[in-house]
Symmetry: C2
Subunit: 118 residues, 2 copies
């Protein structure tokens, strides 16, 4: 189970750290599904599926709605995007630094140790 008090990104990344839960997100990225549709391809009990689903719900990545006797699950793209954005920003920051280092080396071809000047 996830810690409900944990910061949102903690819960999102924690939820994504399990292959069964990623499989459920993968399935839901192709459209809403009932709990039994989600469970069908997974080699685990329905109870285990429900537990994974609760972790996904707690993280905000998935929301579920019960209509009559069927609980339908769908992805929450805003939450998926927040995790994506965190990683993209770090990756971009790293690449920009590399570009600046490349520019520095191009401008200072005779400097043997550019790090000491950073």
């Amino acid at each position: 189970m996830l810690d409900q008090q944990a910061p949102p990104l903690d819960r999102v990344f924690q939820a994504l750290a399990d292959p069964s839960r990623r499989g459920m997100v993968e399935r839901l990225s192709r459209g809403p599904a009932s709990v039994s549709e989600l469970a069908k391809p997974l080699p685990m009990s329905l109870q285990a599926v429900v537990q994974h689903l609760q972790v996904l719900e707690a993280s905000g990545l998935v929301r579920t709605e019960k209509i009559g006797r069927v609980r339908t699950c769908q992805i929450e793209p805003v939450v998926l995007r927040s995790a994506e954005q965190w990683i993209t920003e770090r990756r971009t920051s790293w690449e920009e630094r590399l570009d600046r280092l490349g520019d520095y080396l191009a401008d200072n071809p005779e400097e043997p140790n550019p790090r000491s000047k950073q």
Copy 2:
């Protein structure tokens, strides 16, 4: 500690599920740093920093190299990108489905329940 046998994405998302470790990745996205530089802004013991660093190394997100007495840490952008790509693909898949649903609704304005035709 992380399970070394776990699939790579499990370990990457698990490593990112902690705010201190995300802080370290954030710092390293701006350039390499020694362990003590990484530790400086963090309200924890050096030992705790080293443990978080081991989790980051085990996930592949960070690699470290000891030169003389200083261990320098840097980000591994390929691993960061693999996690980013997994999320991007799911998010894109969801958006494409939504676009197709939009097209369907535009082409079939009189259909009361488009889900039943999907």
